[in-house]
């Protein structure tokens, strides 16, 4: 996780450094004199060579100091830590909604293959993959807030204001999980052990949902885990449309302002989050599939890890 984070910081720092434009001109406004601009550049340390700036940033970060925002003059950590709960809540809720809806839909599509159910679910999944989150969010606001007046159009600290952003967030992930779950379920349903179970008189329901589903759900968890990174990154559009003061919005606002310390602070958070989720997915694998857990246990006992 640490090498990944350092690499992310290096790349983002380099990109921000190489991006043309003067943050000081924006910071001081149109009335700024050339002398004041030069003085402020010096004060912010942006006249130093790249490696000096980068080393200073990493050194401070190691001591838990994310630096000061060039634009507000306040500590980046203050704003970042205020934003993290919103993004984490939104991403987790989005993933939960996506999994709760998409796994059953994927199973139904596989079990009722080549029926109207299968085609309808596939069309639904295709729309989810194709529709940009920005557009989905705006359409939901127009329908549920403006037309039907059922839900608030923007975040207002109440749980109801999380409904539309969560659906928007979940919709995009839902599509890819449905498709993965469907193909995985089809593969497992045609496997020998399911056929044997059915031949031995196990009911259709039990063979499908007890025996097959447990094995077929693993690829969906992988896809969900991989997509979680996209959820955190993709929160930029959703947080902007629904006015949620999360990390995505903080990042996009500060990219526009060329506020390097704040942008990198956000990127550090995103990379740490993605690393943690990947680790959790690996752990979850072991819990769901006893064969994987057994491989690790056996590998540890033999002093080495064996491949299947």
């Amino acid at each position: 996780m640490i090498p990944v984070t350092v690499a992310v910081i290096f790349i983002v720092y380099l990109i921000m450094y190489l991006t043309p434009g003067d943050p000081v001109a924006l910071l001081l406004g149109a009335d700024a004199t050339p002398e004041l601009i030069a003085e402020t550049r010096q004060k912010l340390g942006i006249t130093d060579p790249f490696f000096v700036q980068f080393a200073r940033y990493v050194w401070n970060l190691m001591r838990g100091d994310f630096g000061m925002s060039w634009y507000t003059g306040n500590p980046v950590s203050e704003r970042l830590f205020a934003a993290i709960p919103y993004t984490v809540t939104l991403s987790l809720l989005g993933m939960l909604v996506a999994l709760i809806i998409s796994v059953p839909l994927g199973v139904i599509a596989a079990v009722r293959r080549n029926t109207v159910w299968d085609y309808s679910i596939s069309v639904f999944a295709m729309i989810g993959v194709s529709a940009p989150t920005f557009w989905v969010g705006t359409m939901l606001i127009l329908l549920f807030a403006l037309e039907w007046k059922m839900l608030p159009s923007a975040f207002n600290n109440q749980w109801t204001s999380f409904i539309l952003p969560t659906i928007t967030q979940g919709f995009n992930m839902l599509a890819s999980v449905v498709r993965t779950q469907r193909s995985s379920m089809l593969e497992v349903l045609s496997s020998d052990y399911v056929r044997t179970a059915r031949a031995k008189g196990v009911s259709h329901f039990s063979a499908t949902y007890k025996h097959a589903l447990r094995n077929a759900v693993l690829p969906s968890i992988t896809v969900a885990g991989l997509n979680f990174g996209q959820l955190v990154g993709g929160s930029v559009a959703i947080e902007t449309v629904f006015a949620i003061p999360g990390v995505g919005r903080l990042m996009i606002d500060n990219i526009k302002l060329h506020d390097t310390p704040t942008v990198i602070g956000c990127m550090v958070f995103v990379s740490v989050m993605v690393s943690i989720i990947n680790l959790l997915v690996d752990i979850l694998y072991g819990l769901i599939d006893p064969r994987i857990k057994a491989q690790y246990v056996k590998g540890n006992k033999n002093g080495k890890r064996k491949n299947k």
Binding site: G21, D31, T33, A82, A145, S153, A154, V241, P245, H258
Partner: protein, 504 residues
């Protein structure tokens, strides 16, 4: 009538009754305002963003404020007199309380103004001619200038010249409190800073001890919600989640005009969309070619694509609200433009233009086609705002699309925008003209308003003829409010005072 029909009628009647009751429910005094960006900070000398300044403005006071047309009106200064061309004396209002209960003194005023002059970009410019601030007695402040300075009152109404408690500023500068604390306890305005949820909302509570009870807030609480997306801001007002949208996007104008729940409020602005032409380098060093561009463009089309037609065509280099800007000198005349192109000796080389926003890009497309009709080849590229400032300052462009708001007094901007001293900063055209310099010296040397107006009119005529900038159109300003709301103030620059907003 069947039972289910009776029940349905009863349900409809109940719903109508509920709607009527809720409509009559008494307003609790809260006004929710949606705006596109958050408050960045409350230090008035560091604040450059308009939304930031507007939130701050409602919690603080200055010696002077400006009215809808930027004319200065007294607030903390009760009167002034000029002892001579260089010396001004101001009487400061007595018994004005800061939010912490302490009383405003002349020392607080001097400290705030000296700090503005030392620290703020605009303060340095606007208070540049001031040589000293002196306390004469407990209610009198004397300001001395090194030159004749006719814009003193306008300068004192600038946001940098906000008056705050010296004690609280010193605490903030020593790191003993935050700027939120300075505004919460060390300001004198109509509202007191309440809860602040960074990136989401900011609440202002009515100040019960405001020094002028006749001009106190007419609402109890202002909640500013930060909504970056224009569509969401509009919908929030339409649905009643918010009362006023101060950053209304005209793209939703038609829908809002048809919606009985909202009202669109409009005001003339001091903003013009213009094209800056590089007078120092490249093809536009030739005045005839600059004038050719001015005659070649149908500005009504630019207004339509750039601002959905909400404004007026305006070819002057200054906004119509600026005194001295009387004329609209250019119109669409392709024949004249072609003649000037020939006269300029332009050989068809590519003109490089830069734009930074969607609207400017659309305008550039229209301009590109009109210029091609008179034989001028222009290509544009889109770059970031910060990059554009750098490109202009470094003289690496031929033509740039931009928009700007103006002070009504040309003394406050002509020097920076059209004199050698502004090159590298706001003189994007890299324009100089000794005749303009000479007239500016004369204009600054007199306090006679008629004489000043005449000098600035002459300067404006020269600038319009020289075309360092070409005016395109003057955009209107809009705000969206719930039906039934009154007291939304829009001046030539922005929606600003929020103390009068209420439901009648």
């Amino acid at each position: 009538m069947k039972l289910w029909k009776k029940l349905a009628c009863l349900a409809v009647a109940c719903m109508m009754l509920l709607t009527a009751v809720s409509a009559l429910a008494e307003w609790d005094g809260t006004i929710t305002i949606v705006q596109s960006s958050d408050v960045i900070g409350f230090d008035p000398t560091a604040s450059t963003d308009t939304n930031n300044k507007n939130v701050l403005k409602n919690m603080v006071s200055r010696l002077y404020e400006t009215d809808d047309y930027f004319n200065p009106v007294p607030v903390l200064a009760t009167e002034y007199k000029q002892l001579d061309d260089y010396t001004w004396e101001f009487k400061i209002a007595q018994n004005v309380q800061f939010h912490d209960g302490t009383i405003l003194t002349v020392d607080d005023v001097i400290y705030s103004l000296e700090r503005a002059k030392a620290k703020s970009s605009s303060g340095k410019t606007l208070l540049g001619p001031v040589t000293s601030f002196e306390k004469i007695d407990e209610e009198t402040l004397r300001i001395t200038t090194g030159t004749v300075y006719g814009s003193m009152l306008t300068a004192l109404s600038n946001s940098a010249c906000t008056i705050l408690s010296k004690a609280w500023i010193e605490k903030a500068e020593a790191g003993e409190c935050t700027w939120d604390d300075v505004i919460r306890y060390g300001a004198t305005g109509r509202y007191i800073l309440g809860e602040r949820n960074i990136g989401n909302s900011c609440t202002l509570i009515k100040n019960p001890n405001y020094f002028d009870p006749n001009d106190a807030a007419q609402n109890e609480k202002l909640i500013f919600r930060i909504i970056p997306e224009a569509t969401t801001r509009t919908i929030m007002v339409q649905t009643g989640e918010a009362d006023v949208n101060v950053n209304f996007d005209t793209a939703a104008m038609n829908d809002c005009l048809k919606d009985p729940n909202v009202q669109v409020l409009q005001h003339e602005s001091s903003t013009i969309y213009y094209i800056a032409l590089n007078c120092e380098k490249g093809p536009f060093t030739n005045k005839a070619l600059r004038q050719a561009v001015a005659w070649a463009i149908e500005r009504a089309d630019c207004l339509e694509v750039g601002y959905n037609g909400y404004g007026k065509v305006w070819s002057n280099v200054w906004a119509p609200t600026v005194y001295g800007a009387k004329d609209d000198p250019y119109s669409y005349d392709p024949a004249k433009a072609e003649e000037l192109v020939k006269q300029s000796g332009y050989a068809g080389q590519e003109i490089k233009a830069c734009v930074k926003t969607d609207a400017e890009e659309r305008i550039a497309q229209v301009v590109q086609s009109y210029l091609s009709m008179v034989g001028i080849t222009m290509n544009y590229s889109r770059i970031d705002n910060t990059v554009l400032t750098e490109v202009m300052a470094n003289n690496e462009y031929d033509m740039a699309f931009d928009y700007t708001a103006f002070y009504n007094d040309p003394e406050l901007f002509v020097g920076r925008q059209f004199q050698a001293s502004g090159i590298g900063a706001k003189n994007y055209a890299h324009y100089t003209n000794p005749e303009v310099d000479e007239l500016l010296i004369k204009a600054k040397a007199t306090l006679n308003e008629e004489e000043r107006a005449e000098y600035y009119h002459q300067i404006n005529k020269i600038l319009c003829d020289d075309c360092p900038w070409i005016g395109m159109f003057n955009s209107n300003l809009y705000a969206l409010a719930r039906t039934g709301i009154s007291g939304v103030n829009i001046n030539v620059e922005t929606t600003y005072w929020y103390n009068t907003i209420c439901y009648k």
